[in-house]
């Protein structure tokens, strides 16, 4: 006698497999993706909207926090009546999943939204479709690569921060050199994988060598501990674990300040920013909806992103805060030199 539970389990599994096999048949492409992407006639928007409504659905892979991206999606669906299926992972997971699936012949994804270097990797993997859109001219120039296969939609600004209860107004460091003061011995936290930050921040020093020399000196004199994860760094500033942190996300600082946490952003030179953006998959079955979503994120979506404390890239929709100086982490450079910068980072801080 076979154990009945065991038997039942197997039967159910076999049945379910059969059902799924029957249902998994993909729709054929109606209109060439490249044609839709290149069209720039005066009725571009009307055609996109009409085409998108016919396509009726959209799948988005994103590295943007669910809470935030859901607001953009909700507004998009409310305006055009097109429901969006969402998959969320880390920037690397988004890259890995999109590449593996598309190479394996599975074309579920229509729009891919992730961090700059990963988007650039998608470009190299021939996953993305170049798009022509008049809105690109309104975007912050560093956020539109020449190949137009993806476009930046928001900047994730990385800033230093301090705990307002542990650091008095008078003691707040104002220049990089202030961090060398021995009073900060062991009290400045550094993110343990801030390779791209280091690569970019030393550009604001007179030379690369001087920049690296400064951080080596900081490491020798004040031995800053390394902690993992930008959000955790922000939490640790607020809890008083460490009074100063060099890399936290600006939007997190604003959100926490709003909740009453004793944390403030600290400016020691230009802010460093990661570009996050989105591109359309070449293999999309919903080219109109995909391009329409990209367009929406770069126009009306920008105000929603700003309300979530992000820094939008469309400076015509939402101008940069007055006096804000931003240095953008260069995606191509980071993609090619990540390992090299990791080594530089490790020899500097460990």
């Amino acid at each position: 006698m076979i154990n009945p539970k065991f038997h039942e389990g197997i039967t159910r599994r076999v049945l379910a497999l059969g059902l799924v096999v029957v249902l998994a048949a993909g729709p054929a492409l109606a209109q060439s993706v490249a044609e839709v992407a290149a069209y720039d006639g005066p009725d571009r928007m009307e055609r996109l909207v009409a085409g998108a409504k016919k396509e009726g659905t959209l799948t988005l892979y994103t590295a943007t926090p669910v809470d935030d991206v859901n607001q953009v999606i909700a507004a998009f669906t409310a305006k055009y009546g097109i429901p969006v299926t969402l998959w969320r992972g880390s920037s690397e997971d988004v890259l890995r999943r999109a590449v593996t699936e598309i190479k394996g012949g599975r074309h579920d994804v229509d729009v891919i939204e992730t961090n700059g270097p990963e988007l650039e990797a998608l470009h190299r993997e021939n996953i993305l479709q170049a798009v022509d859109s008049p809105v690109f001219s309104e975007i912050f120039p560093d956020a539109v690569p020449d190949h137009r296969e993806w476009v930046g939609s928001r900047l994730n600004v990385i800033t230093a921060s301090y705990n307002t209860e542990l650091v008095s107004e008078a003691d707040v460091p104002k220049r990089w050199d202030d961090l060398l003061d021995p009073r900060w011995g062991g009290k400045i936290g550094i993110e343990s994988e801030a390779y791209d930050w280091l690569a970019t921040v030393i550009q604001s020093f007179p030379s690369r060598e001087e920049g690296l020399a400064f951080f080596r000196k900081l490491a020798e004199t004040n031995r800053p501990p390394l902690h993992k994860g930008h959000p955790q760094l922000a939490n640790m500033t607020a809890s008083g674990e460490l009074p100063i942190m060099l890399q936290v996300y600006l939007y997190r600082v604003h959100q926490m300040e709003q909740d009453g946490a004793p944390i403030k952003a600290l400016s020691l030179g230009p802010a460093i920013a990661r570009i996050n953006g989105l591109g359309v998959a070449r293999t999309t079955a919903h080219p109109n909806a995909a391009i329409l979503y990209q367009q929406f994120t770069l126009t009306e979506g920008q105000k929603i992103l700003a309300s979530r404390h992000f820094t939008p890239t469309n400076t015509k929709e939402v101008p940069f805060p007055a006096g804000m100086e931003v240095k953008v982490i260069e995606p191509t450079g980071m993609l090619d030199a990540l390992t090299e910068w990791r080594e530089t980072f490790e020899t500097t801080f460990q």
Binding site: K5, G9, E118, N126, H227, G229, A238, E241, D259
Partner: protein, 581 residues
């Protein structure tokens, strides 16, 4: 102990494949095929990848030995490996000591609060690693740690007493976190032990200490070895504790090399696989050593045909110190982290407990978590997946263990080894192998919850093997032989004799797999699709966004829910199998 072999055992040794196919061989054959398929998919992928260069853009992957050369000759790996071994050894010893002591008190003695303690002792395992570690930062960090602040204020000390950011701190936190693994396995072993040997020793005038070391622990030797093995492998693989506690003081471990290799562009899965193959060889040695134990036959069997009745041991006056010890443990390892989490969940932002923060407390985080996108779906999926995977694994591996221990089939040790290997695969590599396998082998499970189910069964199968093996070693084969003599078929004796006697191991393994599969992240993150989200994805999402308060609230709810599940499993378990005296 009877050693003569019955006709039943003989029939197993000389399989009658060629005569007529008996129904049990269908079940046994199917179990072997399923386990073989599940374990070989990632193994083949891992070996294949370890010989390939990374593919990027138009450059295809080609054959190389470079990954092994780099993995084996990179001198910077050595110190990391040394750290890993120190950390894993320390963690395993601490967890094994704590787990064994409390399992013994709970199962073999008449200490008070037993039932409650069994369920409560699972709590550290339920708390996601990140949360458990962060609660200990709040308790013992030199800057903000509660203990340090309290001791400073009480004795006017200038510096901190405890420093959680150290190898000692890492071992302490991980050891406490993993102690339930040892507790569950050792409990199962103690529960299946015939007390008559201990009783005879007691009557001959042996002390409790003598009985414990010279009889009890010797009889559960296979369980001790299995626990140590599982603990060691788990702590070698562990990522959160070294990242949160070791990194700030420059203690790096081996796993970070695997992680770095995967993070490169193009992702160097080949190098990560080569590292994993090295770990695999070390683990195979451990598994081989364990299978030697299993081949020693009835040496550890105490569950025989002769009136087996597990009965607790009277501690006498020692009941009171034992009770105090249990209460202390509960406060330190269970109540304290739970209270820290509960406190965090009532705050508006990450902060240390203090009087001044009392005014800010609210239940907002709970409301937010309940209304969080995908939470309902994720909880449902995780519940189905973890219950389904745990039940499937325990039944499947019961058959496999029976083959390994009871039959004399050639190459049965290989079956044990192959089924145990997924324990050593890095979660992400395992996830990737399952993903690629079912992407190309299009049988319609890609993108559904079934693919996660397959990954969980593969990943946690080794634990089922270890839990079942240790329990099965304790059951003497004469019980099955008597059943066969009385005319029972294989299936009848398996379902009505073997499974009920295996109950302690089955239940402990089942609970363990339910809990760890709810927490599984590294494979799930690649395999989930819209609609098949799981709980660990929600935890990851909250942690990624720095929503520590909501994460604590989620953790508190998870602990309460799983505590209830374990209590229920205990109650149901009591109604089946061997009645306790």
């Amino acid at each position: 102990m009877s050693l003569h072999e019955s006709s039943f055992a003989k029939s197993v040794e000389k399989p009658s494949f060629f005569g007529r196919i008996r129904p049990e061989w269908l079940i046994i054959g199917a179990a072997v095929l399923i386990v073989g398929w599940l374990a070989l998919v990632p193994l083949v992928f891992l070996l294949w990848q370890s010989f390939m260069t990374p593919a990027a853009g138009d450059i295809p992957a080609i054959f190389t030995l470079g990954n092994y050369v780099r993995a084996l000759t990179d001198s910077s790996i050595l110190p990391l490996f040394r750290n890993s071994v120190v950390f894993a050894t320390g963690t395993s010893c601490l967890a094994l000591f704590i787990g064994t002591l409390f399992a013994w008190l709970n199962e073999r003695t008449n200490t008070p609060f037993k039932m409650m303690f069994y369920a409560a002792s699972i709590v550290p395992l339920v708390i996601p690693s990140i949360l458990f570690t962060v609660s200990w930062i709040m308790v013992a960090s030199p800057q903000i740690g509660l203990f340090n602040l309290m001791l400073k204020n009480m004795f006017g000390l200038s510096g901190p007493v405890f420093d959680i950011y150290s190898m000692g701190g890492m071992i302490w936190v991980e050891g406490l976190h993993y102690s339930p693994i040892a507790f569950l396995l050792m409990s199962a072993a103690f529960r299946s032990m015939d007390p008559s040997l201990e009783e005879s020793a007691l009557m001959s005038g042996a002390s409790i200490g003598q009985i414990m070391f010279r009889i009890t622990l010797k009889l559960v030797w296979p369980a001790l070895i299995a626990s140590f093995f599982i603990l060691f492998i788990r702590s070698i693989e562990s990522f959160e504790v070294p990242a949160l506690l070791g990194m700030p003081v420059g203690i790096e471990v081996f796993t970070s090399s695997i992680y770095e290799a995967i993070r490169e562009y193009p992702s160097n899965v080949g190098l990560a696989s080569a590292y994993a193959v090295v770990l695999l060889l070390i683990a195979s040695f451990g598994i081989y050593f364990q299978s030697k134990l299993s081949s020693q036959g009835s040496k550890y069997s105490t569950v025989t045909g002769k009136g087996f009745r597990p009965r607790p041991f009277d501690l006498g006056v020692w009941r009171i110190p034992a009770a105090i010890l249990i209460v202390l443990y509960m406060i330190l390892v269970i109540v304290l982290p739970f209270l820290v989490l509960f406190w965090s969940s009532l705050n508006k932002y990450y902060s240390v407990p203090s009087w001044s923060a009392l005014s800010r407390l609210s239940f907002d985080a709970y409301v937010k978590v309940i209304n969080y996108p995908m939470v309902g779906q994720a909880v449902w999926n995780s519940a189905m997946l973890s219950l389904g995977a745990a039940t499937t694994i325990m039944l499947l591996t019961a058959v496999i263990c029976w083959i390994v221990i009871r039959t004399k089939l050639p190459a049965r040790w290989l079956l044990d080894n192959v089924a145990s290997l997924p324990m050593v695969f890095p979660g992400l590599v395992l996830g990737l192998s399952v993903m690629i396998c079912y992407l190309y082998l299009d049988i319609g499970i890609y993108g559904t919850t079934w693919i996660i189910f397959i990954a969980y069964v593969t990943r946690f199968m080794p634990y089922g093997i270890r839990y079942n093996t240790t329990s099965m070693l304790q059951i003497h084969k004469d019980l099955e032989e008597s059943a066969a003599m009385s005319g029972a078929s294989w299936s009848q004796s398996f379902v009505r004799i073997v499974l009920p006697l295996l109950k302690p191991g089955l239940l402990a393994g089942w609970i363990y797999i339910v809990v760890v599969s709810i927490r599984e992240l590294s494979s799930s993150v690649l395999l989930y699709s819209p609609g098949s989200e799981v709980v660990s994805i929600v935890i990851w999402e909250l942690w990624q966004n720095g929503q520590y308060v909501e994460l604590s609230a989620f953790g508190v709810m998870m602990i309460i829910a799983l505590f209830i599940v374990v209590m229920l499993a205990q109650l149901v378990g009591k109604r089946f199998g061997v009645k306790e005296a």
